[in-house]
């Protein structure tokens, strides 16, 4: 496919971390397209009862298995810890449900390496998202506003699963929010450690599959509660 046009060499120091829970239906496709371009693809199976781990492994990823479900934040942190252990220079996160584009990930990594940044975040509101449902847009915008107030960072999309960072940044941004509040936690970390960051437009493909798996608007209430508890019991 397009792998011939991009030299593999530049991507061998990158570990792509994919957190997956019950994604057996699509993980083969997601991992398959990643291993075409990246040598190190790490899937963290977050205690799925289905065949997610087996299929991810067969598709060519290194698989780490949580013995039980802990949440996406915990799964990402496990994958990041593995990548750092293996001596990764760059760590990227990529959603399992196929809503991200490999070309966007490559672009993000290009910006990260060339412009000497600590972390690069994907933003669907800088780019063009295909068929973003209205209710979800409202929820995401509210999250953006909330993050602007709490961290002071002027971001356009705070809950995008596509990011890339240097090993140093990954080491600093240890995720302790096990569930969905990790996205805000990462951003607070960027502010706290004064990391050099940038947002890059990415396209999100809202397939029927990814919509059925994504966060409902009510999820944002849970995220708020998780963050509050996180602040209280630090």
């Amino acid at each position: 496919m397009e792998m011939s046009s991009i030299p593999r060499l530049h991507l061998d120091d990158v570990y792509v971390v994919v957190a997956a829970y019950c994604e057996a239906g699509i993980i083969t496709e997601t991992v398959g397209s990643l291993v075409d371009c990246f040598r190190h693809v790490v899937v963290v199976d977050d205690g799925s009862p289905d065949a997610t781990a087996e299929r991810a492994s067969r598709a060519g990823a290194v698989v780490l298995r949580h013995p039980f479900n802990l949440g996406q934040g915990a799964a990402l942190q496990t994958g990041i810890a593995y990548a750092l252990e293996q001596g990764a220079r760059y760590v990227a996160t990529f959603d399992a449900d196929g809503q991200h584009a490999i070309s966007d990930l490559k672009r993000i990594l290009g910006v990260l390496k060339e412009d000497d940044l600590d972390i690069v975040l994907g933003s669907r509101f800088l780019g063009e998202s295909t068929d973003l449902p209205r209710l979800r847009r409202i929820g995401l915008k509210a999250a953006v506003l909330f993050t602007r107030l709490t961290s002071g960072l002027r971001l356009t999309d705070t809950h995008n699963g596509l990011r890339a960072m240097t090993a140093d940044a990954a080491r600093k941004l240890k995720i302790t929010q096990n569930r969905m509040a990790h996205a805000s936690e990462i951003i607070n970390g960027i502010a706290c450690f004064r990391l050099r960051y940038r947002e890059v437009p990415v396209t999100i493909c809202y397939s029927e599959y990814s919509l059925s798996k994504g966060q409902k608007l009510t999820g944002s209430v849970n995220i708020l509660v998780e963050l509050l508890v996180g602040w209280l019991v630090r």
């Binding site: 781990a53 492994s57 067969r58 780490l64 949580h66 496990t78």
Partner: protein
């Protein structure tokens, strides 16, 4: 009175349980026994409970007991909650170490 009989029976059962169980430390056991003894005393002498309540400005002994109960329950819930948070943190760490100790490598692909 029936209520006195009921309460004393229950408190006596608790006394037996506190003495019998071996989970808590002797200090905790002693404290629990003292609290139970005070309970038995106030069940037998409710007027004395009223007197103590008046002393701190509460109308009845039963009311004072309820206020104390709310405070104690709330603290207990808070302590338990913090313990649960701490335990889930440890559980996450354990699960992570377990996952990291057994990475599953992909089956050999015929790619270079």
């Amino acid at each position: 009175m029936i209520i006195k009989f009921l309460l004393i029976t229950l408190l006596a059962l608790l006394v037996v349980f506190v003495i019998w169980q071996k989970i808590t430390s002797p200090a905790v056991r002693r404290t629990a026994l003292i609290i139970l003894a005070i309970g038995v005393y106030f069940v037998l002498q409710p007027d004395h409970a009223n007197a103590v309540a008046h002393l701190v400005g509460v109308g009845r002994g039963a009311d004072l007991l309820m206020y104390l109960w709310v405070v104690v329950t709330f603290s207990a819930v808070l302590v338990l909650y913090l313990k649960i948070v701490e335990m889930s943190r440890m559980l996450t760490e354990l699960a992570r170490r377990l996952a990291l100790s057994e990475p599953i490598s992909p089956p050999d692909r015929s790619k270079p």
